[in-house]
């Protein structure tokens, strides 16, 4: 009896202290990939989150920010475990991050069932935008289909008649292929979905030979992270750059470009890709972000970093709008939905499914004034574009 009483008291005491601790800080869990070759992406996101915290003096309103980084190891099961830990053990207020769609899909339920907020800083699987949309899920990136849709649209504009598609065989890879197929009006001459994950296929010899034999006019690929560099190298070694121009999404970015430059793969200069953001965007928030990132880390940030930076700023805007009252979930949700902050891509709004309604741009690979390879916006392909899965969301 006494033991039981003591235990209850202890638990109560623990609850009180943790309750008090909660009052003067905001806890953010951030899940990304910090090991495996995909760690280069995670590193860029981590750098950007740290820069964001530096910019806001580690404060949101009166609250101190406590950041807990977790590594998903590029695996859905590990991502879910780490998410469970953040939700149950650390009792965070927000869970953000997630590079990979399959990791996000595996982890989302843990966060949403606990009535906490989930902010995707990259992954935008069609499921989360459509049937599985949730009042507490927000994205600071895009829905997977949108960027390739913009690319399909651009291909129509320049009169490409036939296309070969290559993409990894996982949730986002299928969304990307699907995205370009919905808008591209020409003929799809062939499609390869290649093995993905921690032991992803990186030698594309067989697929490139097929692509070449298909006689397609152009090739569209989605190979994020390390695979992108490997693909472009082999594309050039196979001598395809003169026969099949390369159009990409999420493949040629500031993660792959420095290495492509070091490898002297000039074939990528001038290649086109679509994206919602670019380092050269002309707004105050972006200039500060890109400028300080360059100063601090000596290289350009990638879109992964830009979206992670935005995720922190979005959370800050919501925390401040509610006066730091993290208990008032409805007010927080309303503030998040308003997206009332200066995004590095410029202002955007949220659709019914909490995916951004935003512009998509055509970017070209160029050398900057110091000779570093980067991307530059050429034109706007979509203005205020909403993803096609929003109609499946019952919100």
């Amino acid at each position: 009896m006494i033991v039981k009483l003591m235990r209850t008291t202890l638990i109560a005491a623990a609850m009180v202290t943790s309750g008090m601790a909660q009052a003067d800080n905001v806890k953010i869990g951030f899940v990304t990939t910090l090991t495996t070759p995909a760690a280069v992406i995670g590193e860029d996101m981590k750098n950007s989150v740290e820069l964001a915290l530096e910019h806001i003096g580690n404060k949101m309103g009166n609250l101190d920010v406590v950041l807990i980084m977790e590594d998903d190891g590029f695996k859905p099961d590990v991502g879910k475990q780490k998410t469970d830990k953040l939700v149950k053990q650390d009792d965070v207020d927000f869970v953000a991050g997630y590079i990979w769609s399959h990791v996000l899909l595996a982890s989302a339920k843990s966060v949403l069932d606990a009535d906490k907020f989930l902010i995707s800083a990259n992954a935008g699987p069609s499921q989360m935008a459509g049937k599985r949309c949730d009042k507490n899920f927000f994205s600071t990136s895009w829905q997977n289909d949108q960027t390739p849709m913009a690319m399909g649209e651009y291909l129509n504009q320049v009169g490409v008649k036939s296309l070969y598609i290559m993409s990894p065989n996982y949730a986002a890879g299928k969304d990307m292929a699907n995205g370009v197929e919905t808008t591209f009006k020409g003929e799809i001459k062939g499609k390869d979905l290649t093995k993905w994950g921690a032991d992803a296929q990186l030698d594309f010899s067989a697929e490139l030979a097929k692509a070449k034999a298909s006689g397609a006019e152009a090739i569209f690929v989605f190979y994020p992270g390390k695979a992108g560099g490997a693909f472009i190298k082999q594309y050039q070694q196979a001598g395809l750059q003169d026969v099949m121009p390369l159009y990409t999404v999420f493949t040629v970015d500031s993660i792959s470009l420095p290495k492509l430059q070091a490898g002297g793969l000039t074939g990528v200069l001038g290649s086109k890709n679509t994206q919602e953001w670019s380092p050269d965007m002309d707004n105050a928030a972006n200039k500060r972000f890109v400028g300080d990132y360059l100063k601090k880390y000596g290289k350009y940030p990638s879109f992964y970093g830009a979206q992670s930076y935005d995720a922190i700023m979005l959370i800050k805007s919501a925390v401040e709008a509610t006066g730091g009252n993290l208990k008032d979930k409805d007010a927080l949700r309303k503030a998040l939905k308003a997206a009332n902050f200066d995004s590095v891509r410029g202002r955007y709004s949220y659709g019914n499914n909490h995916m951004p309604i935003q512009n998509f741009y055509l970017r070209e690979v160029v050398a900057d004034s110091e000779g570093r390879w980067t991307t530059k916006i050429v034109s706007t392909v979509y203005k205020n574009h909403q993803d096609p899965h929003a109609k499946d969301c019952k919100m």
Binding site: N169, K174, A206, A209, A213, Q237
Partner: protein, 307 residues
């Protein structure tokens, strides 16, 4: 039928097979002769790539990178044998697996500390970045180089194993280790050499693939599983078996990646076949291994006298 495509795909399969052979030949010797399961064999593959990449970055010469890389990995292999593996030969397989798994983690972390997480691109000389045109057929020069280098190493290894006294000892060791020891051969020195040679060949495979895929942390851990499949299919301890098995697996993998989606497309709607094909082609080599284990558990070409 597009014959040019088929020929390029056969060449691609050959290239993959030869890389697998470079990895598996060392693995099968170490496994067969010393009865030592070395999970960290893939780490030599990774270290080779990083050594070569660093030298190329420093001197700009790819040939020098390969040369220095080979020596470097040979030394690392010898050190691992001397300080770690040697103490484990008489231990249980489970102990060997645990220790070498630990070695993987140590090597991965060391590489992370020394070279960072971002991986390393290895630039090729312009000659190797081009293509060779034979009539209608266009082949990347560098992939041809891998094939030539792979065959050359296979030939050297064949002569070493089947025509020299050292090779005789290696073969004898694979068949009956105790007898070799009883005949007064310095088995420690033989083991040290075989281990380091195996490491150097794995390192060479890593150096050859890195200009295509980049050197990265854990790159060896993905391919080592396939190398073990090669060892099992070929017959443990048999270099000849490793060669044929590597070729067979390389061709199966490449050809299924090239043609399986079309074949499956005949039997099911495209949307299913294009998703199922990569999954099935990733499984095929394991299905082959299961079949070999079921019907010919000693492997396709077991070493003479092996039980």
């Amino acid at each position: 039928m597009d014959w040019n495509l088929l020929i390029s795909q056969l060449m691609n399969g050959l290239q993959l097979g030869l890389l697998l052979f470079l990895l598996a030949s060392g693995l099968t010797l170490i496994f067969g002769i010393m009865d030592f399961i070395n999970l960290s064999h893939g780490s030599f593959y990774m270290i080779g790539a990083y050594f070569c990449g660093s030298i190329v970055a420093y001197t700009g010469s790819f040939a020098l990178g390969i040369l220095v890389g080979l020596v470097g990995v040979f030394i690392v292999g010898a050190l691992v044998e001397w300080f770690i593996a040697r103490k484990l030969y008489r231990e249980d397989h489970l102990d060997q697996v645990l220790v070498t798994f630990g070695l993987i983690l140590i090597f991965d972390t060391l590489v992370h500390m020394l070279w960072g997480a971002s991986g390393m691109a290895i630039p090729l000389p312009a000659v190797l970045n081009g293509q060779l045109t034979l009539g209608e057929l266009v082949l990347p020069t560098y992939r041809l180089l891998i094939i030539i280098a792979g065959f050359a190493v296979a030939a050297i290894l064949y002569i070493l194993v089947s025509k020299t006294r050292l090779g005789m000892l290696i073969r004898a060791g694979a068949s009956n280790r105790t007898m070799v020891e009883a005949l007064g051969i310095n088995i420690n020195r033989l083991f040290l050499f075989v281990f380091a040679l195996g490491a150097a060949m794995a390192g060479l495979a890593g150096m050859l693939i890195a200009p295509i895929t980049e050197a990265s942390i854990g790159m060896g851990n993905d391919i080592i599983i396939v190398a073990f499949v090669v060892v099992i299919v070929g017959g443990i301890g048999s270099v000849k078996g490793a060669f044929y098995a590597a070729m067979i697996l390389g061709l199966i993998d490449t050809l299924s990646r090239s043609y399986l989606d079309v074949l499956l497309g005949l039997a099911m709607p495209t949307e299913y076949s294009e998703t199922a094909a990569p999954a099935i082609s990733a499984m095929l080599i394991y299905i082959l291994m299961a079949a070999v284990l079921a019907f010919r558990p000693q492997g396709l070409f077991p070493p003479a006298g092996a039980k």
